[in-house]
């Protein structure tokens, strides 16, 4: 188990008085309660016995048809038999790692990577290698070097895990050129790619990028999807699209883990998609989240000190901010919690537990614009306090910041100590 200190800190972020920019929650308050009630009532009236029963391990065909609709919206057309329904996207990551990785096997992911994948990779004792990212996502030339290095020592990674669109946590999107190169590299080195795409349809600006799955045709790419961000995380439904031999192994693992995904919530998905309004709901979410992203970016420009930098994501739920190297954001979180505001410290996104110490992940989907502005203001304030304190400790302020000499205002200016 990693970093129980950070886990204890994160537990406090759930207090009601805390403005939490730490979670990865969609805003489920926007889902119309009446339509939820109507759908569940219909299920109770028409399919009570079936909805309360076990279901097939791979999931219902009707659920898979809904999944095919969602994948078609991003230009993907797998066979229905290429799909397995999982208990959320998280179980998909777990099952794939369990199926493919033996202790010590190399696995490659982005740096930073999805914090929720870190404990999964660690619990199956994968030898995790992280490839750095920039504004265009994973640096594929660095990936190529790593693959070559591993090949020279006779090792081949079990898979390359990537969140190519609006990456969690960095907020960056893999460019089309790099997508093509990544898929090529996977073929050349005969390595599977695990494409995790929970937010692909939540794009606020810019051009849609082809998924790795569509570029590759599904030979080397295992695709993970989820209804969590486009419908509800509470229903716990995700999926994997994979070639049949891999799918069979995943199905065996799933049988051992939980027999089947909730039938009740699969019925709910079926009802919901039957109404034919799912695209509209996503469009509504896109409008809401775009405004929230903009509010957060504006607040960052206003309240974060000039020493901080951050990504401006074209979609998804997160942005990633990086502070001067002497600030450790795990410690900063303790200070921020005293001001009742929370974020995810960057270390959580690195397997070594020490990199990313000066960065933080900020979520903009789960809070309204006023909360976002206030939350960012409070975080900006604690950062500024820490920077000023550091400068007074090191004496940098005396060197770096000569006293402001305003244009002669026509009188004597008495310097006052700052309080």
């Amino acid at each position: 188990m990693r970093s129980s200190a950070m886990r204890d800190l994160m537990a406090i972020t759930a207090r009601p008085e805390v403005i939490s920019l730490a979670g990865g929650l969609p805003d489920t308050s926007t889902f119309p309660a009446e339509s939820f009630a109507a759908q569940m009532t219909r299920i109770a009236h028409e399919s009570s016995a079936e909805a309360l029963q076990y279901g097939p391990t791979e999931g219902f065909d009707e659920t898979k048809d809904c999944i095919l609709e969602v994948m078609a919206a991003e230009e993907m057309a797998p066979d229905r038999d290429d799909l397995i329904v999982t208990t959320g996207g998280q179980q998909a990551i777990d099952l794939i790692t369990k199926t493919l990785v033996d202790p010590g096997d190399p696995v490659i992911c982005e740096a930073p990577t999805y914090p929720g994948a870190v404990p999964t990779f660690c619990s199956y004792e994968a030898d995790v290698h992280q490839v750095s990212t920039d504004d265009d996502g994973m640096r594929v030339e660095e990936l190529e070097r790593l693959l070559n290095d591993l090949a020279r020592s006779g090792r081949r990674p079990k898979f390359i895990y990537s969140v190519p669109s609006f990456q969690n946590p960095a907020g960056v999107t893999l460019s089309e050129e790099r997508r093509r190169r990544l898929v090529e590299l996977a073929r050349e080195h005969e390595v599977m790619i695990v494409e995790d795409n929970p937010y692909g349809l939540l794009r606020y600006d810019g051009e849609a990028q082809p998924t790795l799955y569509s570029l590759d045709g599904g030979d080397y790419v295992l695709y993970l999807g989820t209804f969590s961000k486009i419908l509800s995380p509470g229903i716990r439904i995700g999926w994997v699209a994979a070639p049949p031999p891999v799918l069979e192994k995943i199905a065996l693992g799933k049988q051992a883990a939980d027999l089947c995904t909730s039938t009740l919530t699969q019925y709910f998905v079926r009802e919901y998609f039957g109404e034919g309004r799912w695209r509209q709901y996503i469009e509504d979410l896109v409008e809401i989240y775009r405004d929230r992203r903009d509010a957060m970016v504006e607040a960052l420009e206003r309240h974060f000190p000039p020493q901080a930098v951050w990504s401006v994501p074209e979609g998804g739920l997160f942005l990633w901010a990086t502070l001067p190297g002497y600030i450790d954001t795990t410690n900063l979180l303790a200070k921020a919690l005293r001001e009742n505001v929370a974020f995810v410290p960057g270390r959580a996104a690195y397997v070594d537990g020490t990199s990313g110490a000066s960065s933080m992940r900020l979520n903009f989907s789960a809070s309204d614009e006023d909360q976002l502005r206030e939350g960012v203001r409070r975080i900006g304030q604690v950062i500024t306090e820490q920077i000023e304190l550091y400068e007074t400790i090191t004496g940098e302020h005396r060197v770096a910041a000569p006293p402001d000499e305003p244009e002669d205002p026509g009188g004597e200016v008495v310097p006052l100590p700052r309080r």
């Binding site: 188990m1 200190a5 537990a11 002497y326 410690n331 900063l332 400790i393």
Partner: protein, 316 residues
Amino acid sequence: MRVAVLKGGSSLEREVSLRSAARVEDALGSLGHEAVGIDAGPDLVARLRDERPDVVFIALHGPGGEDGTVQELLEILDLPYTGPGVASCALCMDKVAAKHEMRAAGIPTPDWAAFNATAFRELGAGDTLAEIEAGLGFPLVVKPASQGSSLGVEFASSRDQVPEALLAAFSYDDRVLLERYARGRELAVSVLDGEPLPIVEAIPRDGDFFNFEARYEIGRTDYICPAELPDEETERIRELAARTYEALGCSGFARVDLMLGEEGPQVLEANAIPGLTDTSLFPMAAEAAGVDFSRLVEKIVESARLRPQAAAGSGR
């Protein structure tokens, strides 16, 4: 007996507290008492007035529950409670005040210098760092003055690491101390009703003495109880722990942390409300003395019930 178990609260050690309390509540139940768990929040006083417990078991850690605040409220409500009183809790939580008290009582504790943030901001304390570093030597330890756990505790092994270590410690408290690193074996002596229990020794598994994170994690530190020490040394250390307990005005229980190096044992701090989880050192020491967890809880509750209300401690 009706026993209110105070737990949770808003300190950074909330999770540890919840784990301690769950275990205490189980033990109280098995002893035939009625345990009423109360998460310490804005309704704490109202809840206590409603529940009217015979005794209050304080299973809170960190500022608020361990610094005399909750104890003060219980004095006002005239409810008997477990562990040290108001003044003693305040003293134990403030590492700097505790070190002054220990020095005055002739208890060895490593040299230190303490500052608040204002000293750096407004009084140029940064200019004294060279002297402090020369006096304490490297590596030195930087700690927040008032955190119970290892959060914010940093080692600096050279000059250039000191500012970052200070900044880390200042994230947890407005006052921090720089302390001479006491090299040696890490020991903890729990004291129950003034009687020192067997000594626990903590041994970091990968030999990484400079990583406090490691000590916070299960499986990265081995604990040995009773610590393997010559009888004479054991007695000397236990006696030192008992003197520390007394010097800091503790009652009920406390845990004294020491380092045993070439210069003999040095006391780092006393914890007024040590953890009671299934991996905590206090229950481990009690177990080694033949006191199982239920019996330990029983003793603590008895001690609280029989203790005269320490109105003097609250200054009223």
